[in-house]
Symmetry: C2
Subunit: 201 residues, 2 copies
DNA sequence: GATAAAATTTGATTTAAATCAAATTTTAGA
DNA sequence: TCTAAAATTTGATTTAAATCAAATTTTATC
């Protein structure tokens, strides 16, 4: 059920043939990002794609009034920022590290190179992107049809899954109220009230 | 601006190398669909992909209470239903013809064949799918951040573009109130009121 | 460790939009 | 063309959630 709301590009690296994977790992360049540090910004041209080695990254769209709608929160092992490169357009959203993160970068040139040479890679990307498309469609339906309470509950489930470590009991969701509100599509006051109510259950 | 909200897979056919296009057009099988006839249904397994020769098709998700959220309305020249095949999953939504339509069908077998043999085709699909992903992200932000009035106005612009014929003046949006409401994420009563208000402007 | 700043919670009020209900108009079928 | 059914509009009311405001708690900095 939760898979309807989570991307799964993690399998790209693991399912890639050895040679392709070797090449990819050689050309990736790691960089550390501190919490709150931007990775790319809406409406700018992409210079490559990203692979999240560790940490968490939020991707959001900002409206005219400065309200942000979080589209997705990426977890370790996921590729991101590739759809703008593939569609040959500017970034449609902004990506910011919400924890200290280590992110690998692959230049457009290298990305196109591997895309050209590896049909496995492009096939895996197509598969991953198709799933991501369905996730956004599911999120769309939730945003328009479910109440704030239901959306908060769903997002807590999704986040629990993303933040889970060794044992389920130890899972802590280290996310600000404003990020959770911006994921859910509500304001922080309403979110605080809903969370308060949930504690009685 | 409107391009942020419209798919553009039309270019796939036109940009395809001659041989690939020939092959594709040979294997496509046309079928007529009457208004309101379903094309595929949520949670069923895909047996191929579709190309809309003429007419209009809505794709929507149904929630438990029977409310539908329209994800997209396809126009002539667009491919659809391919993301479920690519992600190797069941259909995440239901497609229904909202006008009498002619739709070409390509079996999974043939689709995978051309995908394997034509790097142009897979590259074009990747490009198209990436754009479609960004469209859904944009729609998500609109659904969560804009008022009903704003969403209705935006959807009228989008539909005007989809329904436009020879001259702009002749454009008629032949879409039921309930479909427009389900696109906008509202109920028909509210939609009727908003449209009433718009007529004074 | 004290203090300021930021984040979160709680309270009161407003508002946009849904719901419920009924009237009117349009469409389709006999 | 008449009639019934479906679609749309209009009206009254309710409700979920946003907004405005202030208090409290947490976090970061000197």
């Amino acid at each position: 059920m939760i898979t309807k709301f989570t991307f799964n590009s993690q399998y790209i690296l693991s399912e890639l043939p050895f040679n392709d994977r070797e090449f990819l790992e050689q050309i990736m360049v790691d960089k550390k990002y501190r919490k709150n540090q931007p990775i790319f910004t809406e409406d700018t041209l992409p210079s490559g794609i990203f692979y999240l080695q560790s940490g968490k990254v939020k991707k959001y769209k900002m409206d005219n009034d400065g309200r942000e709608q979080i589209i997705y929160i990426y977890n370790a092992g996921e590729f991101f920022g590739y759809s703008s490169v593939l569609s040959e357009s500017t970034y449609g959203d902004t990506a910011v590290a919400i924890e200290n993160s280590i992110i690998s970068f692959i230049t457009i040139k290298d990305f196109n190179e591997i895309l050209k040479n590896s049909s496995s890679f492009s096939r895996l990307l197509l598969k991953s992107l198709s799933h991501e498309f369905s996730v956004l469609a599911n999120l769309m339906a939730v945003l328009s049809q479910r109440t704030v309470r239901e959306r908060v509950a769903l997002n807590l489930l999704i986040l629990h899954d993303k933040y889970k470590v060794d044992t389920i009991e130890n899972t802590q969701i280290l996310l600000s109220r404003s990020d959770l509100a911006n994921m859910t599509g509500t304001v922080i006051e309403t979110l605080a009230r809903v969370l308060h109510d949930f504690k009685h259950d």
